[in-house]
């Protein structure tokens, strides 16, 4: 027989006449939720940025031809020495080609796989940048620039020029920013490069590349696959690496094993390559949630305290309500709804404060050499956090209100009326 309008009216009057205590309790929730939203949006934003830093550029599976010694030396195949003890000194890697055999059919095969978002060919080679009489060692990677921009966010790391410009310019080069500084080069200039097997090729600079890792930027440059093939004097099926991007990163391990077995190539999945990285993310998330939950629990205790006090103050009211026909449940509902109102108002305010702070942080400049595309502090404003924050506000105030209100329910009116 709960009569909500009466119950809520009493709850409202209690809250409004004790507006100071009410607002203190609500502010506790507000700050708890506000801090939670701010913290979680900021931390996950930061985490996301750090994740992207690695994950965006890293292929989910990297397929290449490893230069390594034969697993089985020829002597062990020879039956005559089967039962004898043999030692081979000075084992050398097996002579094999750097290129992936049948690379183009393999790429086609991989792209037909439904788990694969894209499989991109690359040619990696060592070159020298020639500046007058000085030769600077470096790496040149041949890529399909536009595909790289689509699948590996290449565009984020091109600080001048664009992926399209590289794709469209024959003999173009995307120069690492470190090299450009060393050699005082601008976009539009020409740079001469020399592959290890000799010859000098002038390439036109179409843009600069900055990964954020200074050591890498001082050696790494990109050009078209065809340009590299021409520089090296190889045919157009010469591919040294295949970078695979999947729809689901969890598939990386199993698919990489399959590729290794099927094609006799080396395939490294992202989890193996960046194991320590994932640990860092997990721990940062753990800290974020531990701090947030602590804040909310503190707010919950505040509500518990204030409701407890309120119930002691309202003993007479409780007795009189019960004497005039309100049941224990009604009285409990009165105090529960007070807790829930505090939780609701405090929670909603907290969401607004959190939103405000997060929006503010989002505008604070954050410029660092390491992250060329980031201009302000990274924020991950996920609506889910707001839902979680609000639910937790309601849940914690429910718990904080439940115990005191249960006490109010059990108060024996006779004891209080006689006690006077």
């Amino acid at each position: 027989m709960a009569n909500w309008s009466v119950i809520l009216n009493i709850a409202k009057t209690h809250l409004l006449t004790k507006i100071k205590q009410t607002s203190t309790a609500a502010l506790g929730v507000t700050f708890g939720i506000g801090a939670y939203i701010t913290l979680v949006c900021f931390m996950t934003g930061l985490n996301g940025m750090l994740d992207d830093l690695i994950l965006n550029q890293t292929p989910h599976i990297h397929v290449y031809n490893e230069i390594e010694p034969s697993k089985k030396q020829p002597i062990s195949i020879y039956d005559n020495v089967n039962n004898s003890f043999n030692i081979v000194h000075s084992i050398k890697p097996k002579l094999s080609q750097k290129k992936i055999h049948n690379a183009l059919p393999i790429i086609k095969y991989l792209e037909d796989n439904t788990d694969v978002r894209g499989a991109l060919p690359q040619i990696k080679t060592q070159i020298f940048y020639i500046a007058g009489s000085i030769e600077l060692g470096g790496n040149l990677t041949g890529i399909n620039a536009i595909d790289e921009a689509i699948f590996f966010n290449m565009g984020d790391y091109i600080v001048e020029g664009s992926a399209e410009a590289l794709q469209n310019t024959d003999n173009g080069i995307l120069l690492g920013i470190g090299i450009a500084k060393k050699m005082s080069l601008k976009v539009g200039d020409r740079v001469q490069i020399s592959p290890i097997n000799g010859g000098i090729f002038p390439l036109r600079i179409v843009g600069f590349y900055q990964s954020g890792i200074a050591d890498l930027d001082a050696i790494q440059s990109f050009t078209n696959i065809k340009t590299v093939q021409r520089i090296l004097g190889k045919a157009n099926n010469y591919i040294t690496d295949i970078n695979v991007k999947l729809f689901d990163i969890e598939q990386a391990v199993s698919l990489s094993k399959k590729i290794e077995q099927q094609f006799g190539l080396s395939a490294i999945d992202i989890k193996t390559a960046n194991a320590q990285f994932e640990t860092g993310t997990t721990i940062r998330n753990l800290i974020t949630y531990a701090v947030s939950i602590t804040l909310l629990i503190v707010a919950g205790f505040g509500i518990y305290n204030i409701l407890n006090m309120l119930i002691y103050e309202k003993m007479n009211d409780i007795a009189i309500l019960k004497a005039t026909g309100f049941s224990g449940k009604d009285v409990q509902l009165i105090f529960m709804s007070q807790a829930m109102i505090i939780g609701f108002v405090g929670g909603v305010l907290g969401l607004f404060i959190g939103y405000g702070l997060v929006s503010l942080i989002d505008t604070i400049p954050f410029q660092t050499e390491a992250l060329p595309t980031v201009e302000t502090y990274p924020i991950n404003m996920n609506p889910l956090f707001f839902v979680i924050g609000f639910s937790f506000a309601m849940f914690s105030t429910f718990l904080a209100g439940y115990l005191p209100s249960k006490k109010a329910k059990k108060i024996d009116p006779v004891k209080i009326i006689r006690g006077q």
Partner: protein, 224 residues
Amino acid sequence: MSIVLEAKHINKYFKKPVMFHVLKDINFQVKKGEFVSIMGKSGCGKSTLLYILSTMDTDYEGELFLNNKLVTEQNREYLSYLRNKHIGFVFQFHYLLSEFSVLENVMLPAKKLAEKSHQEIENDAMEKLKMLNIDHLAKKRASRISGGEKQRVAIARALINNPSIIMGDEPTGNLDSHNAKNVFNIFEQLSNEQGLSLLVVTHDEDFAKKTDRIIQMEDGKIMV
């Protein structure tokens, strides 16, 4: 005449701090329209009896009938409903909800009962206040009015659901003689004009003498 309230063989024990037999085989009836007072010395168990009769105290032996229906052993929800609908209370200490206005205090039990619309309840409440000559106080906060006025507000509240019986625990005990007389007159008027049953615990002999019947209690027993 129909019987409003009937107690049969009511016994009550206080178990703490030591076993104590407070009420010993209480039997009596209150008829419709009767104005009954319970008298006795402090500690004789008259308040204890009243709380049992009011259904607030359920820890007793024996049987209690309200409007000829057995009340004993009913669940608490139902007892709350009974108190709400059939029993009006007036206490020694006025026990109004101090943060609410006089009118709201009077309206509250009727809102809980929820048998009438808000407007009807408000009209009823104003009518009760007018009858007790305190309608000018309706909008005042309950904490801002005098003791005598508070007691009249409490009576108005007790009347709001047109109960079968009004119970009072020393309703005049905390009032000066003028206000006490006032309250008595109101009770008498209710009894005579509206046929309301009244059961009042009192110390005040003058008050008791003017009622229809006095139940004299001593050491947990009713003296005849």
